[in-house]
């Protein structure tokens, strides 16, 4: 599937720039609450694989 160049470029920049942000264990995240990532660390995601 084709993805716009701007989105691909933003992903590429974000995964390179991931630096630090503490991964808090609260439930604050919501679809309404978002903003651009600046200096945000992406923690590993468990998803499946809990075997």
């Amino acid at each position: 599937m084709k993805i716009s160049k701007s989105v691909l470029q933003a992903i590429a920049v974000a995964i390179v720039v991931t630096t630090t942000i503490s991964a808090c264990a609260n439930d604050d995240v919501s679809p309404e609450k978002e903003k651009a990532t600046k200096g945000q660390k992406l923690d590993p995601c468990p998803a499946c694989g809990m075997g």
Binding site: V7, V29, L42, C48, G51
Partner: protein, 377 residues
């Protein structure tokens, strides 16, 4: 002609995204599966990530895959209420093709700790599962499905898993995800043949297939072989690709085939390249078999009627107490003998859990799984 979409599990994880980026650029990835409830560690969702989700959402190529709902918890938890509210909000924002969760209940002291573990296939648990599936469907207004579990305590459980899944999802005109690495674990750990195990699943209800890699445990099965575990931390074994080729033609309602791998296993360039090769190999298998499918999908798995929900979620506090005791034993027992002693004194002794019939090597494996995930990810 309906098309099976070659997909990846894509989450807010730098290494998954790094491994997937070349495939995105080459327009190879046709859909993504997003575990929307794994963002609890983040205060804010990065805009670039929601843009990526939106791209797939806008083209009807986004599926949602929950991790933490704990479908069979005997007690209705406040976090399940929050989970449903977030699902509703996400479903209004993004167009999910469907929503799925895992089979089992979560061990662990809080909502984001522990791992999914099986339950006895009884009427009490069937009723709880149906109640929860209806609430998920009501929250998202999309087709709803469940994934088969990799773990079983006994051969009897393995034989009955597909039938129990079928009864559960029937209540919501739902579907199943057939995880072929999970099936591979069952085939290996219980020495079954593919032809014997695959017919135990409701293949007309398979809308999604997962493939992934896993690992060999140091513990041994009854025949002295290593236990296979669904850890998603390695390449897809050749045997699982063979299962994929053999299974696709048996699933007339199949729409998505998803490659899953943990980001923690994609930290090196070598592993990222291997992930890309696995995806292309999966895609080639999917494309080679596509032609055999009917002109339209026989079942769209949409809700037939709006679910009628009881005001209060169904609960069984006796079962919840048993679940808590089991979680505690699995997470804290020092060794197999200790776990057996604790189980013999517990509320699970001589009950429908049939703990007396559990294979010793699978009880040890359950302990390893629960203790691995006791503190969350």
């Amino acid at each position: 002609m309906p098309k099976i979409l070659s997909s990846i599990a894509c989450n807010l994880d730098a290494h998954i995204l790094l491994a997937a980026l070349p495939l995105f650029e080459q327009q190879k990835i046709e859909a993504i599966e997003w575990s929307f409830d794994t963002l609890f560690k983040y205060e804010e969702i990065p805009e670039w990530f929601t843009d990526l989700i939106s791209e797939f959402s806008n083209q009807g190529r986004l599926v949602g895959h929950g991790v933490y709902f704990s479908l069979f918890s005997g007690k209705w938890l406040p976090e399940q209420d929050i989970w449903l509210k977030k699902l509703t909000a996400f479903s209004e924002r993004f167009k999910f093709d469907h929503i799925t969760e895992h089979f089992g209940f979560m061990t662990g002291s809080d909502f984001h700790k522990g791992a999914p573990i099986g339950i006895p296939y009884t009427k009490s648990f069937l009723d709880i599962g149906i109640d929860r599936l209806k609430r998920i469907q009501d929250a998202c207004q999309r087709p709803v499905g469940l994934e088969n579990l990799a773990f079983s305590y006994s051969l009897e459980e393995v034989r009955n898993h597909g039938d129990f899944l079928s009864k559960l999802v029937e209540s919501v005109n739902g579907f199943i995800i057939l995880d072929l690495h999970n099936l591979y674990c069952q085939i290996h750990n219980f020495r079954m043949d593919f032809e014997d195990i695959i017919v135990l699943y409701p293949l007309e209800k398979v809308r999604e297939i997962h493939i992934s890699g896993g690992s060999w445990d140091e513990r041994k099965t009854a025949t002295g072989e290593k236990i296979r575990r669904d850890t998603h931390d390695d390449r897809v074994p050749e045997e699982v690709f063979n299962l994929l080729s053999a299974t696709i033609p048996k699933c007339p309602n199949l729409k998505f085939v998803v490659l899953e791998q943990m980001g923690t296993a994609l930290t090196s360039e070598e592993n990222q390249l291997a992930f890309q090769r696995d995806f292309l190999k999966m895609d080639a298998i999917v494309k080679s078999i596509n032609y055999a499918f009917p002109q339209s999908l026989p079942n769209n798995f949409l809700p037939v009627n709006r679910a009628i929900l009881s005001r209060f979620p169904l609960e069984n506090l006796a079962l919840f107490e048993q679940q808590q005791q089991l979680s505690y034993i699995l997470e804290t027992a020092e060794n197999f003998g200790h776990a057996q002693q604790l189980l013999a004194k517990s509320a699970l002794h001589q009950t429908e859990w049939k703990v007396e019939n559990w294979e010793p090597y699978m009880l040890e494996t359950a302990m390893a799984i629960a203790q691995k995930w006791r503190n969350g990810f």
